[in-house]
Symmetry: C2
Subunit: 310 residues, 2 copies
């Protein structure tokens, strides 16, 4: 039996202590703790890492603080478009969805794509049709409505900007994504990521979140990775799989691999954000090149850790 | 000045000489020769590798023999959904589109996404809206109608199968994708891929073609790769970037890297298909684990090569 481990994130970016109130910070910390607790329960019951990361992401999708699920930002058309992915490191099976608008929990749809179909990646109306066939919970637009998000969108639309974040001040950068990585007691790895994308986004833009290898990747031989950041750069860098390859082909540690990708390669490209990752020994890394990243991590029978700033 | 090189493919799969007529084979060979000629003209005029691979793919998209552009297969709903991607190895910039239904040349839209937007990956109606804004040629469904494809679809629908190919006999497997890779006289690499997806596909399924790192990847430090095959396996394998990583991190040759991914890793996963690739020295590889792959390649001032079978 291995000593299981779990990490979660709620997005990275310009998260400044000066702009945070104690009350708000408490809410964020509680949400991350809740997500860790949900994943921990699964792992402590000898559940799989896939079930654990899905359980953790589900909690974050249902919390309007984060740009995923319920808290998803508004598109240019005033709608919500969500992406999600999950990957199992044991089987290398994966499921991903993009541009779904009515699915309450996109991560559950991604999991169904992985477990119940011959496909990996589905999008838009087709993905939603499948969600209905699988009897997943669907929501009307008002479920995703949030006053703060709506104000952000109106401000972004007025400024004609595309905001990647769910920040009060649109000029600041924060990359709203949630994710989880885990190693279970059998030593199996998994990763899951979910997002509402960019505020005011157009053209059915897809970021790195649902792209296997870029925003989400898991492989028992190396690591499980969930990314958050300016998606276009993570796509061009194939960021998650790059971390895996540095471990597999250069025999680097999880720590060195994460740092090379996040602090060197992504910085060189101009890509802001971060990753959470776990390897086959249960080592956990939480690396970001932005001011902060909402994050939490825990190992079996150890204390929970929650952090926001550098 | 480097000696430029170029390769193209028109899909891989169960392509048996016994099922081919001399007249049909001639048409395929001519189409591949035309695509090579179009790319060669660009490279011979000191054009960029990006322009060359787009020019080559354009020819294949406009030929109804191949499952891309005009020759795209039918979805379950009797429509056409196309995916395409292009990547520049010098800048690591990339553009990709998925699930477009009316764009005459999806590869041109992918190129516009790369060159004229801040995004990498757009889908569906949003991507088509952008195509209209860029004044790209749009077509009505009848442009994509083809009697053979329609018969294949009716047969597939009757058999309730999802066919990945554009083969006369639905039980045979052929992976309809077109692609090109090139190194130009400045030593810059590029890759482009385009597809109509799987016959009778549902749920807005996306394969590896438009996924940077899986179906398409280019990096001047290593190689440019365009894949064709059972997309789900290429997605799970992050196949194109894996070839690049084997070169970059293990110092393997292009040949060894392609063979490990196509003949070992993909075979182990169960993924049928192939890749074309070129490295920074102008070496060309065309590797497949299926019975055949429509392919052609040429180096500056050398003879054109066209092949179909093993």
């Amino acid at each position: 039996m291995n000593k299981f481990s779990l990490a979660v994130h709620g997005g990275a970016g310009t998260i400044l202590k000066s702009a945070m109130t104690p009350a708000k910070e408490k809410l964020y910390r509680q949400a991350l703790a809740d997500a860790l607790a949900a994943g921990y329960r699964v792992l402590a019951g000898n559940g799989s890492s896939v079930d654990a990361v899905v359980a953790a992401v589900l909690i974050l999708e249902n919390n309007s603080l984060f740009n995923a699920g319920k808290g998803s930002v508004f598109t240019n058309e005033g709608t919500h478009e969500m992406d999600a992915a999950v990957m199992c490191g044991k089987t290398l099976k994966a499921g991903a969805v993009a541009n779904v608008t009515r699915v309450k929990n996109p991560i559950l749809l991604a999991e169904s794509v992985m477990n119940k179909t011959q496909h990996v990646f589905l999008a838009g109306k087709g993905a939603e049709l499948l969600a209905e066939e699988f009897n997943l919970e669907m929501e009307k637009p008002d479920y995703f409505f949030d006053t703060l998000r709506h104000q952000q969108w109106l401000a972004a639309r007025e400024a004609q900007t595309v905001s990647l974040d769910h920040k009060d001040i649109v000029t600041e950068k924060k990359f709203g994504t949630v994710g989880a990585v885990a190693m279970d007691s059998s030593g199996n790895l998994a990763a899951a990521t979910s997002t509402g994308g960019m505020t005011n986004k157009r053209y059915n833009r897809i970021g790195d979140t649902p792209v296997i290898g870029s925003g989400t990747y898991a492989n028992n031989n190396t690591c499980a990775v969930s990314c958050t950041g300016h998606g276009e750069y993570f796509l061009r860098a194939v960021a998650a799989y790059d971390i895996s390859c540095l471990m597999e082909y250069k025999n680097l540690s999880l720590q060195d691999s994460c740092r090379i990708v996040v602090n060197e390669k992504l910085v060189k490209l101009g890509g802001e954000g971060g990753v959470i990752a776990v390897d086959g020994r249960g080592n956990i890394e939480l690396v970001f090149n932005s001011d902060g990243m909402y994050r939490g991590w825990i190992r079996q029978n150890e204390e929970q850790n929650i952090a926001i700033y550098k």
